[in-house]
């Protein structure tokens, strides 16, 4: 079974290569069918491997199985979280390809296969990153998925905004990748190893006085910078709203649903395997780093989300807010929180992708994704309205959605004030989405007036289909419906939570810790509280817009998202230094 692990990468790549080779002859329909089939087959493979991943699969590419504990080969990990992320990425790619079925305006001439091919390479990159057990190999696939994501973001070259967003994305993420590579170089210099587990052992062996030194700290900071840029943690997050607002909708579904989350997964994986030992970064310092950054990210993301009127930007900021919640969860380093985050992440992927899919329908039907311009216009889209409302409540964490279950489990694990951050961030982001729904689909409240010159309106966007849709194709409503059903199933299918928890624990602690994941009364109440809070916020915002409109003191925060790449690079440097400062006590104390 374990020999099949590399096929998760090889299969979609082969599909992409054949699509490009035959792309000049293939009619569009054939190219799209091949894309869907290959992506679906990879998803099936990932799920099959996932079902056989206990005990975790390990594969050495090229058959370089270690002799006396030493190997020159590359290790691939097939444990629950790795294959779970690969399966999630594959399923979302398939969903996005199904959603984009005959969707784009016109494919580049004589290259009908190029969009499905790019999506397949993207899928291969994400799967490769998820199952990488070797730090350098993880970097290679980090780069692969980034390169494809830049091209996909700028796909609509006729719009200056799309090209600008892709360029910002490319520069900021590339800087993150250089930081990651430098961190890997430092670790290699110290240990002479590239496999994550071996680096971790090497650090423990070579630790001076049994603790970390400046080199370990620097490599930790650099590696984390790369991964947090991908995860879009504040202050590394500025590329995300600019890129997600302009990327084609099917691409947004994958970017927001799973690519960003792979950064969080990477942090979890790298800390657990490389830096968790006595020669690495002490748990207290990691906790400080991730909790501080996570809270900052959740707050900034939620506030910015509330103040958006460009619907895709609003959804992008809600992804930032949720990244913050995920980082807090993995930062507290308890097995229960890890389980909760795993569930939260799966269900969030479904909800977020479904919401982006609905936003795409608005764009193609009305040529706008502006909350104010679309006021009351989408009344006749009843199905989409229902999907949007369900998605918004799912985002806010209404039981029995999987988001609510994951959130409840995590809240119980983090406890106290941090649990309040979860309630508040999910309520504000869910409320913002619900507010858009109430205005656009129902036309509730007074017609809002446009104000403020610093706003990015969502008007004047070009539909991504050949012409404005007069009728919404069935695939475009079926895909979000299925995704929402999936998010619901995560919370309701009996035993699913337990399965995920077992898989995460087996990977995290070798199965020593046994946790149980189930609905609890406080969990349900907190979930209901955040959903109610979201509804309340929406009610106030719709009936009394002035009360919750952006106050002047929020302006400096909003101005930070200036669109100037130099600003974003400066913030990246600030973030890297901040990481160093936050993790410094562990090194000084050693």
């Amino acid at each position: 079974m374990h020999h099949l692990l590399p096929l998760l990468v090889a299969l979609p790549l082969l599909g992409a290569a054949l699509l490009v080779a035959g792309g000049r002859r293939l009619p569009r329909r054939a190219a799209e069918t091949i894309g869907c089939t290959v992506s679906g087959a990879t998803a099936a493979l990932a799920i099959t491997l996932l079902l056989n991943s206990s005990p975790p699969l390990v594969e050495w590419a090229g058959g370089w199985v270690p002799v006396n504990g030493e190997s020159v080969g590359i290790m691939l990990i097939g444990d629950g979280p790795a294959l779970g992320m690969a399966a999630l990425a594959s399923l979302l790619t398939s969903a996005a390809l199904a959603y984009s079925w005959r969707y784009f305006d016109e494919p580049p001439r004589r290259h009908a296969g190029s969009f499905p091919a790019l999506m397949l390479v993207f899928q291969a990159g994400m799967c490769g990153f998820a199952i990488a057990g070797d730090l350098f190999n993880a970097f290679v696939f980090f780069e692969l998925m980034s390169v494809v994501a830049y091209a996909l973001t700028g796909y609509r070259i006729d719009e200056a905004k799309a090209v600008q967003g892709a360029l910002t994305f490319a520069i900021v993420t590339s800087l993150g990748a250089y930081a990651l590579l430098m961190g890997i170089a430092l670790l290699y210099a110290r240990t002479g190893e590239l496999a994550m587990a071996q680096i971790g052992r090497g650090l423990d062996r070579t630790a001076v006085h049994g603790g970390p030194d400046a080199l370990v700290l620097a490599s930790f900071v650099l590696v984390l910078t790369g991964l947090l840029v991908k995860a879009a943690a504040v202050p590394f997050h500025f590329w995300l709203p600019d890129a997600h607002a302009v990327a084609p909708t099917p691409v947004c579904m994958v970017l927001s649903g799973v690519m960003v989350e792979l950064g969080t997964y990477g942090v979890w994986r790298v800390y657990g395997t490389v830096f968790a030992g006595p020669g690495g970064i002490p748990p207290a310092d990691l906790r400080r780093v991730l909790v501080v950054l996570g809270v900052l990210t959740a707050v900034v993301g939620a506030v910015m989300c509330w103040y958006q009127r460009h619907i895709k930007r609003l959804l992008a900021y809600s992804t930032v807010a949720h990244t913050g919640l995920f980082l807090i969860g993995i930062g507290v380093l308890t097995p229960e929180a890890d389980d909760g985050i795993a569930l939260y992440l799966i269900a969030h992927a479904g909800v977020k992708a479904a919401l982006f899919a609905c936003a795409g329908i608005l764009l193609d039907r009305y040529g706008s994704v502006d909350e104010l311009a679309l006021f009351g216009k989408a009344r006749q889209l009843r199905t989409v309205a229902a999907l949007w409302g369900v998605g918004a409540l799912g985002l806010a964490g209404l039981p029995p959605f999987g988001t609510a279950l994951g959130k409840a489990v995590t809240e119980e694990a983090v406890g106290g004030a941090l649990a309040l951050v979860y309630v508040a961030a999910s309520a504000v982001t869910g409320g913002a989405v619900l507010r858009v729904g109430a205005r656009v689909f129902l036309g509730l409240g007074p017609r809002p007036k446009s104000d403020g010159e610093y706003e990015t309106t969502g008007a004047g966007e070009r539909p991504e289909t050949r012409r404005r849709l007069s009728r919404v194709p069935d695939t475009m409503t079926a895909v979000p419906a299925l995704l929402l059903a999936g998010a619901l199933a995560v919370g309701t299918v009996p035993g699913f939570g337990g399965l995920v928890a077992d898989a995460v624990n087996e990977a995290g602690s070798g199965g020593v810790v046994v946790t149980s994941v189930h609905w609890t009364v406080p969990g349900v109440l907190l979930g209901l509280a955040s959903a109610l809070l979201a509804v309340g916020l929406t009610a106030v915002a719709v009936t009394r817009p002035a009360l919750l409109a952006a106050p002047d003191r929020a302006l400096p925060l909003r101005r930070l998202q200036s669109g100037h790449i130099g600003d974003y690079v400066a913030w990246l440097l600030v973030g890297t230094t901040l990481l160093g400062v936050l993790a410094l006590p562990g090194v000084l104390g050693a």
């Binding site: 020999h3 692990l5 590399p6 096929l7 990468v9 090889a10 790549l13 082969l14 992409a16 054949l18 490009v20 080779a21 000049r24 050495w60 590419a61 090229g62 058959g63 020159v72 080969g73 590359i74 580049p108 001439r109 290259h111 969009f115 091919a117 790019l118 390479v121 350098f136 290679v140 692969l144 390169v147 494809v148 091209a151 700028g154 796909y155 070259i157 006729d158 430092l186 290699y188 210099a189 110290r190 240990t191 002479g192 190893e193 590239l194 030194d213 400046a214 080199l215 700290l217 620097a218 490599s219 930070l560 100037h564 400066a570 913030w571 440097l573 600030v574 890297t576 230094t577 901040l578």
Partner: protein
Amino acid sequence: MSRRTRLWLVAVSGTGLAALLVAACLELPPFGGSSHPYGERAVRAALARHTANTIASVNFDQRAYDTLGEMSILFAAVLGCVVLLRQARDEHRARPEPAEVDLPVRRYALIVLPVAVVGGLYVIAHGQLSPGGGFQGGVVAATALHLLYLGADYRALERVRPVGLFEVADSLAVSAYLVLGLAGVLAGTAFLANTLLPYGTFNTLSSGGNVPLLNAAIGMEVACAVVVLLARFLDQAVEIEQGNGKDDKDDKDDKESEKENGKENGA
């Protein structure tokens, strides 16, 4: 954010990062030490499989899976370029006019061209024996073709490099690498395992088992990828023009390119 604030932020945080990096570099192992844990293992493994160039053994045998990722990055970059540098709605194609080339330049280019192409192929073919290999040789061979652009003109270059064919060859090379990897899985060993072919005689062209084959696939991939990449950028620089105006310098060719490129004039 004003320029001043930005510079101030960069200065402060850059100093912090620089301090961290300097402190880290002071902890690096001293230069020229005798302990090379990875190097020793890699050389031993390369020799065991009769690959004279250890770098080639690392690239195409020990860490061939990384090379697969790197090759895919190049492939994705080419694909991305083809998509991003396509003709936009408000652009049209104009035939470039041949420019006068000085005779010495022309002579030099035409003499060096075959030498450079052969040099590139040599570097690819001897990847498992001497420094070089598919990545390096591929770039040499691909750029050699472009001497024609310097020595003659753009249209001469276009005649020797049909971009469509190179795109197909590029993806076939990627497929070849993948199929060679999958052969290992089918044979029951592992993906990209170098255990199917005999390792041959050390320091001859046919040594190293799989290594020369994977190396050749990479060489072909890189050569084709670089040709297509350069073609796309040259297209933008030389042929594709902004606006709806048309020059009718070469009417017949213009019609042809129009037919090829379908829509024009913002259709």
